[in-house]
Every structure is written in C-alpha cells, then in structure tokens.
C-alpha cells in the first residue's frame, strides 16, 4: 500500500497535516506585509528554539548550504581551523572549508564514537600561538547516530578563544542545544529534521563574537552573504526570493512546537530514542554507538550476521511500508539507521520495531518478532 508509509529516516521527516496545508495556501508577495509578519514571527520563534538573543537568519537551501554560509561568512582563505569529525557530516564541514581555501586540520574519531573533549583540549592547549581561529563541531552526527558533548567542547574552545561553529542540523529540537547558555558562536540547523517541515530552509544563528568575525572574513560570498540577509531582515524581507511556502510552514510548525512545549519536545525525543534502542537490542541486534553517546534523533544498528542491509530495507519498504535509512560512507553496508525525530510518536516506534521483527524473521533470522515492540513498550510504560 504505497499511500501509507512510516518514514523512519533521519530527515526529511514526516510533516504534520496542518503544516502541509500551511504550505498549500495561495501564493503571497515575498515583499509584502503578510510575508513580513510571517518572517518576523519565525525569526522570534527560532530565537526561542536556539535559546539565543542574537541574530538568526533563514536561508533557502539545504542544511549543507547553511554550513557553507557559516564557513564563508566567518573565515578568510588561509585561516587555520580545527575540524572535529566523527562521521560523514563532520567530514563535509571540513570539506566545505578546504574548498574555500581554509587551512583545515582534522581531528577525527572512529565512526560510532563521540569526540573526546580531552583530545580537543590537548590540541587547543598546544596551540600557544593561537593560530587556530575556529573549531568546527557536529552536535549530532547523523551518519552514526552519535551525539557530541557540545557543552563540554564549547567550554574548552572558549577557554582557548577560537570561534566555535556548530552543525546542529539534525540535533536542534531533538536534543538540548543551548546557544547562549553554552556560548556557541555559530549554530546551523535545517528545516527537514525535528522542525517537522519539509527540506528547503536552513537556519543560521550568529552571536556577537561571530558578528565581529564576519566583519573581517574575506572568503567571497554572494548568495550566502549573511550581511545581506541582515540588511533585508531589518525590513522583514530576504535578499533573494525565499521559499515562501516553507516559511509559512515554519510558522505553523513553531506554533505546534510551542504548544507541545520545547522542553516536552526534547523529552519526547529522548524517550522514543531509549525505546528504540531497547527494541533493537531485544531483537538481538547491536547498536553502533555506546548508549552513553547515542543520539536522540537517529539510531544506527549494526547489521545482523547473514542479513543484507539493502535487502532488509527493500523488504521493510515494499512489504511493510517502513522506510529505513542505510549506512553512509564506510558504513554503507554495515549498518542501517532508524530515524526518530520530528513528527514521531510512541505508536510509530512500536509499529516500526514490531515490523522490523517480522522483516528480520522473513529474511531468515531466528528471532521472536514481537520482542522489539515489547521491549519498546516496556520503556514507554515507565
């Protein structure tokens, strides 16, 4: 039944009906009063989500475009940065900077592990001449389902004095990300994750330290120029024609999120992630990540012996309508991933884990198909 799918990938995520319909309203002028009201409400709402009093800009692009905006507005060719990577998206952040002539030193950790704050501290302490101008960190690494200890890392980076650029694309609203409290300088998020709206927008927040850095950053920029975004936002506009329906959808989604309560949203993600991990283990499978650093947005599961990842994903999609993600990079055929962020509730987790049990059994694994759903329910009932 093609018309009903359980979309359990780490973005794009399912979209609430009222949000879908908010994007299906007749078009409006992007330089008129209705749009001005929408973008101003969205900007104020985003500040509450990011927990910041500083500037937040809405860009029409993928999350990768937001990361590019962070790089090109903060740095100059030849600047030295320390790029912490624990997976595909950490590597991407570094690749963007290298492309624009930044001198990138990578501090990589094994896929499936979190960055060790001590190693970051060691490296920054060794930088007595303060050559490292910025540090890049991925808050939640979507490719491995691992969350970095951003608060601890930020304290270390601040001690050194470098600017901290954070990829919070898949973390924002799925786990705590306290921009001002943790003193993060640049934070990038994306629409198609826990915000519950379709892909097409990225949100870039910069604090006053970042605004200062922007004044001297010399990488050329036009479409992603945050200075232009700031000038236009002052009059309730964007420099280039924005994805109008997505901004109206963002407004509706932010209203829904405020109704749920931003803290409740975080708790929901934590609870569903715990239930997912319990279910996966009860089905006899192994988690890629240590549970102490496991993500609230996405769970990476090592493929059981004798099971082919693409065969499992195909069966789950075609027979049961459950859409799972595969592995990325070197983990391509080693793991599959269950997304549980955005518009996801208890029933989705129980259904997904139950059907996953059937799928594994169907592919010949010796497993009690109900074990995953039962274990998840146990956690959900606590």
């Amino acid at each position: 039944m093609e018309e009903k799918q359980l979309l359990m990938i780490p973005g794009p995520t399912p979209v609430p009906q009222s949000v879908l319909l908010a994007g299906a309203r007749p078009m409006i002028n992007h330089r008129g009063p209705e749009f001005k009201a929408a973008i101003e409400e969205c900007t104020a709402g985003l500040k509450r989500v990011f927990k910041t009093k500083h500037e937040v800009f809405i860009l029409t692009c993928a999350g990768t475009g937001g990361l590019e905006a962070a790089v090109v507005n903060m740095l100059s060719p030849g600047d030295k940065v320390l790029s912490v990577s624990i997976g595909v998206f950490g590597d991407r952040f570094a690749a963007i900077a290298s492309t624009y002539g930044v001198n990138v030193e990578k501090l990589a950790f094994d896929m499936g592990t979190a960055a060790d704050p001590k190693k970051i501290e060691e490296r920054l302490k060794a930088d007595a001449g303060k050559e490292i101008k910025a540090v890049f960190v991925t808050h939640n690494e979507t490719s491995t389902g691992v969350t970095n200890d951003l608060k601890a890392i930020s304290a270390i980076v601040r001690e050194h004095g470098a600017l901290l650029l954070v990829d919070a694309v898949s973390s924002m609203l799925a786990m705590e990300c306290d921009m001002d409290g943790w003193r993060l300088d640049v934070v990038v998020a994306g629409s198609q994750k826990a915000f519950m709206i379709p892909p097409g927008l990225s949100f870039v927040a910069i604090n006053d330290r970042a605004a200062e850095a922007m004044k001297t950053a010399k990488i050329p920029r036009f479409y992603f120029d945050l200075g232009k975004a700031r000038d236009y936002l002052a009059t309730g506009e964007t420099p280039w024609t924005p994805a109008v329906p997505l901004v109206l959808q963002l407004r509706e989604a932010l209203r829904l999120l405020e109704k749920e309560g931003l803290d409740n949203c975080l708790k929901r993600h934590a609870r569903l992630a715990r239930a997912t991990r319990a279910g996966v283990k009860a089905l006899g499978m192994k988690l890629l990540a240590d549970e102490k650093v496991a993500s609230n947005a996405v769970t990476a599961v090592r493929k059981p012996d004798g099971i082919d990842v693409s065969a499992l994903r195909k069966l789950m999609r075609e027979k049961y309508g459950v859409v799972l993600a595969g592995g990325q990079g070197s983990l391509k055929n080693e793991i599959f991933r269950i997304g549980h962020l955005g518009l996801v509730n208890e029933g989705d987790i129980v259904a997904a884990l139950g059907l996953l049990g059937l799928g594994l059994k169907g592919l010949g694994m010796k497993v009690d198909p109900g074990a995953g759903a039962s274990a998840a329910l146990q956690v959900l009932g606590e």
Copy 2:
C-alpha cells in the same frame, strides 16, 4: 477581504490548486524510488521546456543561486567577461561575478531600453585577442519589463567564440527561449515564474561547450557545484537534501504545461501582455519600454503625474486585493509593474486593469475607470 488576492507581481506567481496540493502530500525519502521517479520525470520535462538535449540540473535555491552556480562553475578568478546589463538583474549577474574575482566589463544600456546587439558586436569584434571568455545576458529584465533579442545576441557571441551565460529566470515559458536552436551555453531559470510553482528551485542547463568550460573553471564551489549535481543525478538523486515538495510540484506543473502545450503557453503570455499594454495606455499612462522590446512577463508603467507609487500600490492591495510590484533601483518611485506570467488568464487581466482604473480615479486622476478593461478586452477579442 484578505483571503482573495490577485497577485500581479513578476514572481512569485499564483500556483494552481493541483500544484499546491502536490506539495502537501506526505513526505517521502529523497533517496528512495518515488523521488527518483519524480526527479527523472522533471529533468526530462525541463529539457523539453528549455528546448535542449543537454544537461539540466535542479538546485534548491532562489534564481540568484542559479546565477551564482552559472558563474562559479564556468569561470576562474581573473577571467574577463562582458556583462550586458539593462537593469537590476543584469547588474546582479555582474555583481556575482565580481564577488568571485572575475574581471567584469559592463556594457550597460539605459533602464527601459533593450541591449543593442550592434554594440555587443562592436565590442566583441574589438576583442581581437579573444580575451573575453564569456558574455552574460539577461533574457528578460524583470526590473524594467524589457526583453533582449537573445537570438541575435547569441549569434554574435558565437561568432566571437565566448561562452554565453543567460539569465532566463523570468523569461522561460513566458517567451521563446530555444537553448539548442539558438546555441545558448548556460541557461538559468527559476521556479516561481512562469513554471507556476512556488519559489525555492532554480534550474541550470549547460550544453557541451559549457560542460567543457566547467572542467577548467577554478572558482571554488561546494553547494553550487554542478559536477556533484551531475554525479548524483545519474542515480536519480541530488547531492544535498532537496526541497522535496517543490520537486513534486514541478512534476505536476510540467504535466499541466504539457497539457496546455508549451507553444500555447507562450502565445497566452504574448496575448495577455498585449492586452495589458493596451489597457495601461487607455488609462492614460505611459509604458516604460518601447513596445517592440516590451516583455511578455511583466509590464512596467511610468507613474502618472501626481500619483505616488506606494500610495497606489497600497490602495490597490488593501481596497481591491490587487497586488502590484513597485520599481527597483533608480526606478523605485518612478514606475510600478504589473506581472502577467504563470497562472494568469484573461479574467485576471481584465479585473486588474479595471480595478486599476478605479484606484487611479480614487487617487484623484481624471480617468474613465473602465477604459483600461475595455481596451484589454478589445485585444483579447481579436
């Protein structure tokens, strides 16, 4: 009555109901079979629209992002280009290139006039050393409602040998743009114009000469890297998460356009533009552009003596629900613009011109309020 507006700006344009709803379907995986089918159908459809057998890429960004993609994928810092400008968007194309270190020579013509192909020919003939690597041209200048003679210009540029980069953001589907027939090398279009879908996508087509140039172009690029777009399109994907609903909307809009017939779509735009110009003149106002070069997408009208452009636009919007565009750049308070592209029909033109008559009369102009609608009807009845 806020719920019903006649949106007569040159983009974003009104969106058909079936297209709105195509974007309101439940989210799907952007790396799954449903999306692959959609992007492949869209790419094939775009090739028919652009009249090209070459490559077309769908980018998640505004039209300005598409122009940036054209610049950064074709050129290297220090390259010399001749940038033909007849208004704000011609200037923007030049500004993007300058930002990325391209050596831009501007060939500007007065706002409201078209580029003189002879002047372009003179300049290119003087370039005996073939220093000019590329020529930029805006097919339809949205800020002035003037269309350049792209076919003639292309023949001249091809004679010289430079690459021709065309901003067809507001022209594609509103006027003939024959990429392969006219041998255009790079053509950029945007979703929120005659395509009848919301803003958020740009389409960039490159022919084999452009593909060759891309191999040696050295401006750094990441988000807008067409090489990456090509690699992913080969498997029905995009490198970064695309605006999924907009691609589904593009598919629906392309089906509607094929049903109308692409040639009929062009004829409709030409007929409605003629009717608009007749109506404007019958209301005692002057067109900014000579009718020989007037656009089929948007009509720029000189403000009548004693009428304030912003007061007129405010009255039209608040009292009659007709949304008109103001002037841009140096023409800000000198003209207003009537968009007539995309989902626009005879009734829209008659209503807009009729209500414009009332609006002008309301602001004290001595005018027969029915004269505009009558003149438009005269043309439409021919």
